[in-house]
């Protein structure tokens, strides 16, 4: 346990000190990574902890981006509030989506999430008056924070906001996983029928976790829109849902940290391979299949196996 705490502290320190150390172009990449790490971690709540595979997570991401865009362009709210409010809006809408999708289980659930994702994409495309259609919404300002904090309009400042969101979300999720609520999710993951027989309304739990997952994905999307300065329909397309799913599986599902590693892996591969070959997407797909078939615990799982600790049976406190 001590070892984990030290690693966490070191990691957080590195993240916080990065702006002092890294050059500008690396900061841009790192900011993008932090945003994607949040996006991927949010999906892990569903896929890794509750075994709810989703092909529509891009819907939450894009929704958050558009919420941020609309709020930033039409109000004078400072950036941190815009991000938080966007996340809450997406989480709220997600309750309805989650209610619909949890009417089914397994594959049907996954396909319903896909359907909703595509629906969101179609709406973003067609509702031109609100979403700007295929052009999307651009010119999103990075408005200075409350109390006249202009730091957020700078690159390092925005980066720290993103890190704050990621860390806040991470610690929230960790507390959630350890709580009684989290225990029920574990049960649902391993034997939902038994959880029902034990007296739990499993559907309510599923709706809750999906809404929370969508909320954090929305937060990531809002950060992205502020980061990039625009929101476009492509953010909602199912291929984006596929990419974040790859990050979760390849990184290591059910660990919160694994998907973050997956995000790093994905972006690195994308950047490096796309310089060499046009076929990097193909390799990504093959890597994904290989991981599902042969390394279902992802990169983090492989790393854990290699350190002597291995995979202990879950003790009291997990």
């Amino acid at each position: 346990m001590m070892k984990n705490k030290i690693i966490t502290l070191v990691a957080i320190s590195c993240l916080l000190m990065a702006p002092q150390v890294l050059p500008n172009y690396a900061m841009t990449l790192l900011t993008e990574l932090v945003i994607l790490a949040l996006f991927a971690m949010s999906l892990d709540l569903m896929v890794g902890y509750t075994k709810l595979v989703s092909f529509g997570h891009a819907g939450a991401y894009g929704l958050g981006a558009y919420a941020c865009a609309l709020l930033s362009l039409n109000t004078t709210l400072p950036l941190p509030f815009v991000i938080l409010l966007s996340a809450l809006i997406v989480g709220f809408i997600a309750i309805g989506i989650a209610w619909s999708c949890t009417m089914a289980t397994g594959v049907s659930f996954a396909m319903l999430t896909l359907a909703f994702g595509q629906l969101a994409y179609a709406i973003a495309f067609k509702w031109v008056s609100v979403t700007g259609g295929s052009d999307g919404l651009s010119g999103i300002p990075k408005r200075p924070g409350p109390f006249g904090w202009t730091m957020l309009t700078t690159k390092p400042g925005f980066y720290l906001l993103a890190v704050a969101c990621l860390l806040g979300a991470y610690f929230f999720c960790r507390a959630l996983i350890k709580s009684p609520f989290g225990q029920v999710l574990r049960g649902i993951r391993e034997n939902e029928m038994k959880v029902l027989a034990l007296g739990y309304s499993t559907r309510r739990y599923k709706i809750a976790i999906v809404s929370i997952a969508y909320m954090f994905a929305g937060m990531a999307g809002a950060l992205y829109a502020a980061f990039a300065g625009f929101a476009i329909p492509e953010l909602l397309f199912w291929t984006v849902s596929g990419q974040v799913l790859i990050m979760v599986i390849v990184g290591g599902q059910g660990t919160l940290i694994g998907p973050m590693l997956g995000a790093v892996f994905f972006i690195m591969v994308e950047h490096k391979l796309s310089e060499i070959t046009e076929t990097w997407g193909l390799f990504m797909g093959l890597i994904f299949i290989a991981f599902v078939m042969f390394a279902p615990n992802g990169i983090l799982g492989m790393l854990k196996k290699n350190t002597a600790a291995g995979q202990p049976a879950q003790g009291h406190t997990s």
Binding site: K51, V53, F55, S100, M103, A104, G106, V107, S108, A110, M111, L112, L114, A115, F116, Q118, L119, A122, K126, W238, G242, L245, I249, E278, T279, G281, L282, M284, G285, L286, F288, I289, V292, M293, P296
Partner: protein, 288 residues
């Protein structure tokens, strides 16, 4: 008379659309019936059918040949994939299967993009069907009438095969109780692989038939959603359900696109949700 001719024309349009959807959906229904898993790459195979059809037509000059080669090629491909990969996943939980077939979708999409490029490709209408027939003074492309005929013929043939032949009986029995069928001496794996290949071939046939109308493009792989909507409405694993589902979805799409073009998609999803609430197994379904 104007309303009548309008309704007739739109109905014919809907029927031709239903035909295409039928090929797409029936494949998924058959695969689900026999394997209890959803092949996420179904849409990608549909797309592949269109592209292989395009190339065959280009090389041979005959679209008719393409309609024969494409399903065959994709069916064989599906067979190899099932034997090589998917068989290993039956023992694992269904999400593993879903994820692998999802990965397959990505791979097929990328291979397609690399081989044929991103811009849509036009497949010509088969010779002899490029004309237009006048029905009640309204023009109706002959190809659409052909599609209606092809769909009707295929559904009758397949239904007959499932209901009236020994092999069909075997398939239906396996989808209801595979262990029993296995105990009676049949190699389940062969039946499964065969049905899987058939399902893939049907999807590809749908793709190659659709290609002249909608052009071969990378976006086609999202057709898996349509296939799924059909199967959800009609009933997972039910062949007749796939026919019914195709008709319903086509009707909603055709008339919906005419009257509420921006909401047609939403209407369809609402319909699917409605069916899920009222009859979770689908209208004709027999959920496991």
């Amino acid at each position: 008379m104007e309303t009548f001719s309008f309704v007739l024309i739109q109905t014919l349009n809907a029927l031709s659309q239903a035909s295409l959807l039928f090929f797409l959906g029936s494949g998924l229904a058959l695969i689900f019936g026999i394997m209890r898993v959803v092949n996420f790459s179904h849409g990608a195979l549909y797309m592949l059918g269109a592209y292989i059809g395009y190339t065959t037509a280009k090389l041979s000059g005959s679209v008719w040949l393409a309609m024969f080669i494409a399903p065959l090629a994709v069916g064989v491909l599906g067979l190899f994939f099932e034997i090589g990969f998917l068989r290993k996943l039956y023992k694992r939980d269904e999400s593993a299967f879903l994820l692998v077939t999802f990965g397959l979708t990505l791979v097929v999409a990328e291979v397609t993009r690399l081989t044929w490029g991103a811009p849509p490709l036009q497949v010509p209408l088969p010779s002899g069907l490029s004309g237009v027939l006048f029905i009640l003074d309204e023009p109706m492309p002959t190809y659409r009438l052909f599609l209606i005929g092809a769909g009707a013929l295929a559904s009758v043939i397949i239904w007959g095969f499932l209901e009236r032949t020994r092999l069909g009986l075997l398939i239906r029995a396996t989808s209801q109780n595979s262990q029993m069928v296995h105990a009676l001496g049949t190699d389940i794996n062969l039946v499964r692989s065969g049905v899987f290949a058939l399902g893939c071939g049907l999807a590809a046939l749908g793709g190659v038939l659709a290609a002249p109308s909608i052009t071969a493009s990378p976006g086609m792989s999202s057709a898996v959603i349509d296939a799924f909507v059909i199967v959800i409405i009609g009933g997972m694993g039910s062949f007749l359900g796939a026919i019914l589902g195709s008709l319903i979805v086509a009707a909603v799409q055709t008339f919906g696109n005419y009257f509420f073009p921006d909401f047609a998609m939403a209407i369809l999803y609402l319909l699917m949700l409605g069916v899920l609430i009222i009859r979770p197994g689908g209208l004709l379904g027999k959920e496991a």
